[in-house]
């Protein structure tokens, strides 16, 4: 902003956080639209708040997925369901 020579560095402020972050979140959720990949790469390369938001959102999704899906189904549940089905047949 105050120095044009730092064009290879990311800008520290995002002009449109709400819209950008919504887009980033959609992309992380697999809701891609044509051109969204390119737009994502551009944001990540040029905008620090977008870069940080993207990576934070990404890691939260990863830890949720790896740490919150480990409830083992009780062994007897499947048998119990099959038995009940037999009864209503």
């Amino acid at each position: 902003m105050d120095n044009e020579n730092t064009s290879n560095k990311r800008k520290l402020n995002c002009n449109d956080e709400s819209k950008c972050f919504e887009l980033l979140e959609s992309i992380l959720d697999g809701e891609e639209t044509p051109g969204s990949k390119e737009l994502l790469n551009e944001k990540l390369a040029k905008c620090q708040p977008c870069f940080e938001h993207y990576h934070l959102e990404k890691v939260i999704r990863e830890v949720l997925k790896s740490k919150c899906t480990k409830h083992l189904v009780p062994a007897e549940l499947k048998d119990s369901i099959r038995q009940k089905i037999q009864e209503i047949k």
């Binding site: 919504e22 959609s26 919150c68 480990k70 189904v73």
Partner: protein, 196 residues
């Protein structure tokens, strides 16, 4: 899901659909049920009821379509109609979460800016899990459906009977609440190892 033409499956077809299209989702169904009810027995009952309903209404399921979304929708409706009333979780938790959110005005993004990627990575499974469980059920549900189960916005809209725009905004709010929680855990980790 939208009304589908009723089929007339033979017993053999019914069993095949049940075994090959419904039962493979039981892990996800149980995880969802457990995170809704917080109780192993309630979760078992909820999953069992869902499967019995699925079998009873199997003729309204079109073979080869999205069985997982169909089952999740039944489970969600069963939960709302039968289990939510007798849920062992006090509603004040939900209320407080909603309050926290609505009192936060428009600081939406700034309030989570000090949550670091490394802090999230270092968190224990219990902390992540507790943070998720602490969210009001509507917020918790969208995160489970999206992040744990990988449903699309469109599938979530059908499962929850809400417009896609509502899915999007609810998810965004849910994520902000979750980040709030995670941030407070991160702060605690940073201060001292001594438990409160």
């Amino acid at each position: 899901m939208s009304e589908v033409q009723r089929k007339k499956y033979s017993d053999k077809e019914k069993n095949s659909i049940f075994d090959h299209e419904f039962m493979p989702h039981i892990d996800s169904m149980y995880n969802f049920a457990f995170r809704l009810t917080f109780d192993e027995d309630d979760a078992k009952d909820l999953v069992q009821d869902t499967y019995l309903k699925a079998y009873r209404f199997i003729n309204s399921f079109e073979k080869g379509t999205n069985a997982k979304a169909w089952l999740f929708r039944i489970l969600k409706n069963s939960f709302i109609n039968e289990y939510r009333k007798k849920s062992k979780q006090p509603s004040k938790v939900d209320y407080q979460e909603v309050e926290t959110y609505y009192n936060s005005d428009n600081v939406d993004y700034n309030m989570t800016s000090d949550l670091r990627v490394d802090a999230v990575k270092d968190m224990l499974g219990d902390e992540i899990s507790n943070a998720l469980n602490s969210l009001a059920v509507d917020f918790r549900t969208v995160i489970i459906l999206c992040d744990l189960e990988g449903f699309t916005y469109e599938e979530m809209a059908k499962i929850l009977d809400i417009p896609i725009g509502t899915v999007r905004s609810r998810l965004h709010r849910a994520r902000n609440l979750l980040k709030d929680k995670l941030r407070s855990y991160a702060e605690n980790m940073g201060y001292d190892t001594e438990e409160e």
